[in-house]
Assembly symmetry: C2
Homo-oligomer: 208 residues x 2
């Protein structure tokens, strides 16, 4: 299975929308309706499903419960996923307190900062000194990390995370990290996203 990134992103969104349909009392769903909710075509939905051998009933659509279950298995939602937050500044601390991760089975096991006194109030997540990072990661077998340190520290801290066994990083720092082949980085660059909105709004164009 050589799934592509965009396909998996869509599976997540299908899953989220399916929970909403379920909450509304629906039992079955057609590819057409799910497509509308997510903003893609019905062919796209069926194509994505067929890549993962998810099948429905001709004429009857898909059973929502069964579909959610299958998507959850694919997306690893059947177990708690452990992550760490590295950098407990404004953004890192906000993430520690962010409720939606827990709802999605994502647990922040610890945060790390040069100054471990930072942000430890009322988030329930311990903030540990940066010196313990690699040991902690190895001992707890953590593979996913969220990087929220200042730009100047980003590459070296990232390297330490990789050393500790991290294989996937959500990077909030605005630099292009040098990344080994066996590690995946997803960049969230808020300045760049805003710049993009500004371009399309002030140029009076519609983004696509």
């Amino acid at each position: 299975m050589v799934a592509k990134k965009n396909c998996i992103l869509r599976l997540s969104r299908y899953k989220n929308e399916l929970y909403r349909f379920k909450k509304l009392g629906f039992i079955k769903i057609f590819s057409e309706y799910l497509a509308d909710a997510v903003g893609v075509t019905s062919a796209q939905v069926r194509k994505d499903f067929s890549l993962f051998d998810i099948s429905g009933n001709k004429r009857g659509g898909y059973t929502i419960d069964a579909l959610i279950e299958k998507l959850n298995v694919i997306l690893g939602k059947n177990q708690i996923q452990k992550v760490v937050v590295v950098g407990a500044g404004n953004l890192g601390t906000a993430l520690l307190r962010y409720k939606n991760f827990a709802k999605q089975g994502i647990r922040i096991e610890a945060a790390f900062d040069l100054d471990p006194a930072k942000g430890s109030q009322k988030s329930g997540v311990p903030v540990r000194p940066m010196t313990e990072l690699e040991t902690f990661l190895r001992r707890n077998d953590i593979k996913i990390g969220i990087l929220c340190v200042p730009e100047v520290a980003a590459q070296s801290v990232f390297d330490a995370m990789v050393n500790g066994g991290i294989r996937g990083v959500l990077n909030f720092s605005p630099i292009q990290l040098k990344t080994p082949a066996d590690c995946i980085v997803t960049n969230v660059n808020l300045e760049v996203e805003l710049e993009n909105l500004i371009y399309f709004v002030t140029a009076g164009q519609s983004a696509k």
Copy 2:
């Protein structure tokens, strides 16, 4: 000019990398080096530039200062861009204190929350009651907003922002907003991004 979203995102990244090259003392740059820094092909760089009639010197590459200036004009960096943050919870408050926006000429004019007592400490940005949102937006001619309210409130608050004249929204809530044709929404869904990392890491695959 029918610029596409990905092209503009690349222009932002070119610009950011160019500042780094400049800081290192470079005066000129070849498409090849810039491409390496950003992680694209040199043909992509030249193609993007040619779409905006940015030209270099055959054999001599591009002058960094002139290039930065042209990109800044395209991206609207020649003036301060006013934005608002709506929702002053954990994430919203973190954004109020986020230093990098100011560095990029993006100024948060105000934040809005049902409870205006929230988060006003030490960010320097006033938190106003939600009731003042539309009036403030119109009076200050603000077109860009960052939406950080809880999921249940997201659609109605978004509608109010649009009513107030907002034309571009950076949406942190995990729902698909119903959006009028003359408004652009960029979704930042951290749970979905993490889910995506988890998929590729635990499935042992490399993302692409």
